[in-house]
């Protein structure tokens, strides 16, 4: 199919972009990598009147450590997340998740900010930001504000960003020697959207884990923190029994159903993912992230 007529404007500066998306005269969508938006337009599932192209805004491509946090500009491409040594060193969870994001051609264009702003519940980076306690910086004509990942993902393709706001950048804490991460995803084929998966972060403290954050994805309308399971994993040395107890907390969570993967199957995969992630957090040397 061909997309419906749409006005295209390329923003020259962030201020220009903000003015364009604040304009009330037309329904506007921001175009970054276009890997989700363009198919939606082509399938006529979305028909905005105006596209604001932010791809020339160089300041949204920053990737640097500032005050103990890795700042990732909204336009940083998935490929860079997957391959930049800085990311691998200070935010290894993101580097580990990146190869699961679609295929190389898509990773070359798709952007980190775009993935978060699109908020597909089956995609990898929203869950990672939740596990990493990320902060999203949103900008509008009236100023900037920071929203924590916990509050950013509001629903299916819904975020806390207002229509006049642009996601500028995201920051995550720099990993320490004691940081532990795990990423497990189940999909039918390499690069497919997840049937279920988990992005997990914790801090090792002797034989215990603290600050456990387990972000499940692919199972609900948003990535969700398995807080009860996290609390159990923090409650003592991570043994098989403790993991079993943590996994059992997933019995009560809401899991979506679909024609291609039923609710029971997704819940089961979430359990397996959590089990594998928990063991990987406790014994990182034995971790295998497929």
């Amino acid at each position: 199919m061909k997309l419906a007529d749409v006005e295209y404007v390329r923003a020259d500066t962030v201020e220009h972009a903000l003015a364009l998306i604040a304009a009330q005269d037309a329904e506007t969508r921001v175009l970054a990598g276009g890997q989700s938006l363009m198919p939606l337009l082509a399938m006529r599932l979305a028909a905005p009147a105006r596209l604001v192209d932010i791809n020339r805004l160089a300041e949204l491509e920053r990737l640097e450590v500032v005050d103990g946090r890795l700042v990732i500009g909204a336009l940083v491409r998935h490929h860079r997340i997957a391959t930049d040594p800085l990311v691998a060193r200070v935010a290894p969870l993101l580097a580990r998740a990146a190869p699961h994001v679609a295929h190389p051609a898509i990773r070359n264009r798709g952007t980190f900010g775009g993935s978060l702003a699109h908020a597909d519940p089956a995609s990898e980076f929203p869950a990672c930001t939740l596990a990493l306690n990320a902060e999203m910086t949103l900008a509008s004509m009236s100023g900037r504000r920071t929203v924590r990942a916990d509050a950013f993902f509001e629903g299916l393709y819904q975020t806390a960003a207002r229509p006049d706001e642009l996601l500028l950048e995201v920051s995550v804490p720099v990993a320490t020697e004691a940081s532990r991460f795990a990423f497990v995803e189940f999909s039918r084929r390499n690069g497919d959207y997840a049937l279920a998966g988990i992005a997990a972060a914790a801090t090792a403290d002797g034989d215990r884990l603290t600050g456990v954050r387990l972000a499940l994805f692919g199972i609900g309308d948003t990535p969700v923190l398995a807080s009860e399971a996290a609390a159990i994993l923090e409650s003592g040395p991570v043994t098989d029994a403790l993991v079993k107890q943590a996994v059992a907390t997933l019995d009560g969570i809401e899991v979506r159903d679909s024609a291609t993967a039923g609710e029971r199957y997704r819940r089961h995969l979430a359990r397996v993912a959590l089990k594998r992630a928990a063991l990987a957090l406790a014994r990182p040397e034995a971790a295998s992230c497929r």
């Binding site: 497919d192 199957y265 397996v272």
Partner: protein, 784 residues
Amino acid sequence: MTSSPALPAPIGERVPHRRTRRLAHGRGRYVGDIKIPGMLHGTFVRCPHAHARIDAIDMKAAKSLPGVVAVLTSADIAKVCKPWRGVHGLFPSLNAPLQHALAIDTARWSGEPVALVVATSRSIAEDAAGLVDVEYTPLPAVADPESARDGTTKIHPEFGTNVCLAASHESGDVDAAFTGAATVAAETFRFGRHTGVPLEPRGLIAEFDPTERRLTVHHSHQCPHQMQNDFAVLLDLPEHRVRVIAPDVGGGFGIKQQLYGDEIAVCAASMLLGRPVAWFADRLESFTADIHAREHVVQGRVALSAHGDILAFEVDDLHAIGPYSQFPRSSAGEGRAVLTQTGAPYRFDALRARATAVFQNKGMSGHYRGVGQPIACAVTELLLDKAARKAGLDPIDVRRRNMVRSADLPWRAPTGVVYPRLAFEECFATLEAHVDLVGLRRDCADARKNGRLRGLGLACFVEQTSRGSGFYGAGGVAVSSRDGCTLRLEPNGAVRCLSSITEQGQGTETGVLQVIAAAVGVPLDSVDILTGDTATSFHGGGTWGSRCMAIGGEAAWRAGRALRAEILTIAAHLLQADSTALDIRYGVVVDAGGAARMTLAEVGAVGHFRPHDLPGLNPQLVASASYGPDTPFRAGCGIQLAVVEIDPDSGMVRLDRFVVVHECGLVVNPLLVDEQIRGGVVQGIGAALLEELLYDSDGQLLNGSMADYLLPMAPELCDIELLHAHAAAQGGDDLGIAGVGEAGTTGASAAVLCAVNDALFARGVSIAQIPCTPERVLTALGVI
């Protein structure tokens, strides 16, 4: 391979497909690349309901949109286009409902075209299509095969039944065989509906010239001659003024093999408007508008003697085909393949087989790669495994024991099919020389002892290729089983070939070029080929049923030998030599001692420009031949072996090894033959593990996109090892080529399903359904 020493190079050489370089450089010319002055673009309004009455179509808003030229409904199209019935003369009891290009009064599948919008651009046409307001009254829909057969809703009330065709065959004393059997194994198999997904979707440009009543169609199609005939008959045009040109075609797999209502509606639109009209299927609409295949429920059982001899098979196949019998080939073929290919690799005495095709409110079905053969193969192989395990016999030994041997040839199977040539002894020997079957089995057994789910599956298969005219021609279906080739000697001594074979990426053109180069005696690069144009070539069959190399290659060989003979006659005349003492090697006429006497360029120059040097000879410099087999089919056969490991946590099936042993007579180009088989295997693996068109009970397709309809991709596959067995030539005076196009698909899903069940057997469970999704695996294991 016959490895006949009489067949010179480049026959037998691994030559890359000639088109590849051009296509890889972006120089392809697909139908979507063609621009014709004044060309309009069409798009279809399709019915969103699986079954609905069309009450009214309001086109006012659409017609008033600037750039819209016409909005056509079934009534408009009917002015120039007749409706059709997918009948078949060999099956007089086949119920073939009248089908119109666009739905008239009632739509019978979600995706059936209802109106055609024609505009100056595709975008405008799509804008306008969104403005066409169709009022529907939804009707009860029939979706699954059993309710189609047994339910009260009739899709075509005039027949009083949803059964399109019920066919059966019985031979030998089946009841006695089962009564006396030491072991009987029975199973009900379910096969998911799937579709071929060519890289290039369907599309065409129809160009009607009213001054001469001449229709030219640029068509992404496998069978341009068939379409020339269909368009002429249905659009009431003289056939010799209909020209169908298939330019570069990006994959077919049977999807581009029949007449589609949307496609002939585009031709009708061009006739009504007097302007070229283009339509290219969108990938999303392809999922509902392209043909589907292989939605079967098969109840089968097999009887074994105490020694493991196969005594009898019984199969009852229920096949759901969508709402119409496909045209022009009818929907008889797929069920018939199940009837006639059950147990094909094996000796047995008795068979009871029934095949019932039923109408339902889902997308049209047609002939996807392999047609019913993969179904018959999977049922046969799974039943054998089950029976062998039940009897405590080795499944591979049971196969070896029962396979048709050369001493049995010609083998008259209980299906009524006669196989003049099968080569299972050679295939088994080749497999065992390459694969340590005992070691592989031990490896799987050891893994299972450690709690892993690892399995080995083996499937023997027979592929019927290169059919004669006994099925379509004898059934009154205007589909050619022949192909033709015309060769011209150009003044520079090169050869130009006009062939009726068609090319969708298989490499057949390259194989035919090799045959011509060998037959005439010229370098491969000295032969050029033009295919896919009904105005230039013999009325041939094109691509279907694994036939182009075997039939079109034979025609090319014969034309090549005829041209060679004339060249030698001319050369002999000029050299005042005996033509039987001359030969042509690499473009040069040589004498018996191999000494060069004259080049073909000299022959060409004399023939074309100085024929006075050849008084009385009247050189033709052109030779044609056509060929069609006078046998029902030529069989290729082989064995496919799969090793899988199942993750007991996730239910995911990982392929660890895949081996194909194949015997197909003369292999003209081993590189391209191997790739054909590998491609077919991949589609069979897709069927076994991934691909399934999921419909709800209301007949709505639930996963009609590339994100949800899962095609196999490279990371999910393992290497596919290819081995060719060599059996004696089949005799006769032809090249002895059997087709290979569907071989991979025919056996692959059976091998994978057998391997999955081998892995699951340790846990006492089994799966008789494809695709073996992880969800189904875990359900079978009792995990979810």
